[in-house]
Amino acid sequence: MSSMALKLLKPFGLVEKLNLAALIKALVVPMTGILIFLFIWNIGARNIHTSLGEFPGPAQVYEQSKNLLAEHNRERQKEAAFYQRQDDRNAKKLAKNPDAEIKFRAYTGKATFIDQIGTSLVTVLAGFFAASLIAIPAGIVIGLNKTLYSAFNPVIQLFKPVSPLAWLPLVTMVVSALYVSDDPMFAKSFVTSLITVSLCCLWPTLLNTAVGVSSISADLNNVSKVLRLSWLTHVIKIVIPSAIPMIFTGLRLSLGIAWMVLIAAEMLAQNPGLGKFVWDEFQNGSSNSLGRIMVAVIVIGLIGFMLDRIMLMLQKKVSWDKTQELR
């Protein structure tokens, strides 16, 4: 096992840095954990019988993930073929009569699993950015002013624990009522998901920013006063850098929440995305459904993990305190 791993790692130049003990710690131990999990999953799955058949084990899930990918490729081929036919038709028409009116129609095939992943990712990032754009400046202002902090803290504490499912009907109605346009830039479902996600993931960033800003050392504030820094310079040069670690702690929590909230919101509201995929498969109720849902569960987990790693990388990049261990 470890010799194979060594061979695998050689091209990356990692072997020289890692001794055997470190290698075991870094690779073998997590691998063992995953293997044990797969084993227990396999045994457990065989013993659970549902109305849709046996609970999917690792093998079925692997099979279904291949199927989903194949479906996606077939759908793409269909789409290409559709456009090809349309273009041919239009070309023929124009050949007969150069003034003929030709039509372009968009392909309206069913969204595949991969498409739904894309939709969910775009929605979660948009919602997260919208929330951060509000939460960081608001957190800075609230953190700098004790009176504002005391005024808004009860409101923040009240809304922080609210589940997305409670917001969703309200948001749907409000979006339907207010977002009226003949040629909307975004789909209503996208706006609804985005606002629900933003409302739920606003709070950790807001609170952490406020706390980070309000706990700037008195000495640094005095430096700023002695230098007579303007309010803006004070915020840019002193407040934001010193609150950066806390702001990022908040952002990471927010992104995690945003991802969890999005799946639930999509499921309930039938908005496009991974949540809808899961719900559709559940309603579909074929013998493959549970396996396909399990693929979605694993993909949701992987994406959530990747998003967090990306935030961690950003955090390490902007953090000035290199002695602090980030994980």
Partner: protein
Amino acid sequence: MTAKTHLELTGVDIDFPTPSGPFKALSNVNLKIERGEFVSLIGHSGCGKSTVLNIVAGLYQATKGGVLLDGKEVNEPGPERAVVFQNHSLLPWLTAYENVELAVKQVFKNSKSKAEMKEWIEHNLQLVHMDHAMHKRPDEISGGMKQRVGIARALAMEPTVMLMDEPFGALDALTRAHLQDSLMEIQADLNNTVIMITHDVDEAVLLSDRIVMMTNGPAATVGEILEVNLERPRHRLELADDAQYNHYRAAVLSFLYEKQRQPGEEVKVSALSEKKTESDKQAQNLHDTEQSSAEQNSEEAA
């Protein structure tokens, strides 16, 4: 009165609000300081030394009385009264150079070109012997070096008065001695007006033109003022055996430990004769420290 006093504190009182009513920290503090003078404030902890300094800095407002600097009332902080803080207060995310740059950009944004600013920043870092590490961040340099950068930042503001709040209090004895020497060198060059808080009797006598001794709080005020007429440049090695130097030390010690004795210190200084020998011993210790510091090159010299 012919010439106006440079810096003048008149009848300064300050009350801090507490849940059980106002707490009078200072009462009727009067002090006049001439241009280019080096004044130390000394007193037991909690006597309000830092409060006096913060009032001059403009970080606190006096409840009664006030501060005049060149005839103008002080009522807010400003770079003409630069402060060197006890724990350096450098911005940890900026290098030494950038920390000084922040101050220089703020003070000289209209009067110096970019190249002039760069030169001025480097010049000030050279003054405190930090030019070799100016692109290092605070967490990469030692405590003494951080304090040097703090001093460079204050000097770079070209202050009318430099305020130093126990600048060397958190440093070890050897590093402190090096920084005191550096400060004396700079002071000989620039002849700034300096107010320095200290709790170190030797530091006060070595550096100051005058030592302002404060009574114990609450309602602390100026107890005695001691003129130190030792010739400059001063060398700590020579002064260790100097009769006049020891006389000044004894005067400050006697103020602190006899006249302003704090409860709980009775045992330590019960009789004058005992104290005399003790102060001799301290002088001897200082002498020894100096010799060893001259022998070993400390980290600061590198």
